[in-house]
């Protein structure tokens, strides 16, 4: 059975890029355009993994990571952000993210990271 990935990004092109990448590699994809929507969709669908942007309207990615981990302490969340400053990476890891990928995303790197956590 295909693993389910929740893609969270306010940029429609990034959601589209990741959706193509994951669906072409036999993953199922659900999408959220901000952190609040991501928390709601996580609770409803319990995906196997989440890719999470940081800077988003309504609820940012770091807050969303914390909220999702309150629902499921074992949630696997990979940050995908253009903001690769060391303080952002530290904040994401401290919040509970498993990994941090800096945009522009390299498809091979995204897939290898996802597969590392999904087996």
């Amino acid at each position: 059975m295909s693993k389910k990935i929740l893609v969270v990004d306010d940029a429609s092109i990034m959601r589209l890029m990741l959706k193509h990448l994951f669906e072409n590699n036999d993953f199922k994809v659900i999408e959220a355009a901000n952190g609040r929507e991501a928390v709601e969709l996580y609770a409803a669908h319990k995906p196997d993994l989440v890719t999470m942007d940081i800077t988003m309207p309504d609820m940012d990615g770091i807050t969303a990571v914390k909220e999702i981990l309150k629902i499921d302490a074992s949630a696997k969340i990979i940050m995908c952000s253009a903001m690769g400053q060391i303080d952002k990476v530290k904040a994401a890891v401290m919040a509970g993210a498993k990994s941090f990928l800096v945009k522009p995303l390299q498809p091979d790197r995204v897939l290898s990271t996802v597969k590392q956590f999904l087996g």
Binding site: D10, A11, S12, I13, M14, L16, M17, H20, L21, T55, P57, S81, A82, M83, G84, Q85, I86, D87, V102, K103, P104, Q106, P107
Partner: protein
């Protein structure tokens, strides 16, 4: 304004275009306007800089390049119409350049954040900045066409 700060945005733009589309962005001009300047643009994404440095930077390009950026982000899927996806690509390239510039600035001790991008598009459009403050206008060329980066900082003058 310290030109070393402008150099971080130049390097960030070159790095991001290389990573997104394997495209070599070449700097063709660097103009400094101590009394401000109005910028003509077809499509422009505007991002704020907050933190140790305050100001804005703007990426100016045209529709053809926007479509090529969108296609490159989508791993080669053709994008032939300037729609919401292409617009999102322009914003995202601004985010990526801002993110990379922030990372480089942090290495120099300047802790900055980049705000969510906004986008403007139109014929014979002019962008003005108030209050008037010094501007760098950096021109680039690549196989996709020409791109400008405008940097306006309120401090470090």
């Amino acid at each position: 304004m310290d030109s070393l700060l402008a150099n971080q945005f130049i390097q960030a733009a070159i790095t991001v275009f290389e990573r997104v589309g394997n495209v070599s962005l070449k700097k063709t001009g660097l103009e400094y306007f101590p009394g401000g300047h109005k910028i003509s643009a077809g499509i422009a994404t505007i991002l704020g800089i907050t933190g140790d440095l305050k100001g804005q930077f703007v990426i100016v390009l045209n529709e053809d390049i926007a479509l090529k950026i969108a296609s490159a982000i989508l791993m080669g899927i053709p994008v032939t119409v300037y729609d919401e996806v292409a617009e999102s690509a322009v914003c995202e390239i601004g985010n990526m350049i801002g993110g990379e510039a922030s990372r480089l600035l942090q290495e120099q001790g300047h802790f900055c954040d980049i705000t969510v991008p906004s986008i403007v598009r139109g014929k014979e459009m002019e962008i003005a900045f108030y209050p008037v403050s010094p501007l760098f206008v950096i021109s680039f060329n690549c196989e996709w066409g020409s791109v400008k980066v405008i940097l306006r900082l309120e401090n470090k003058v």
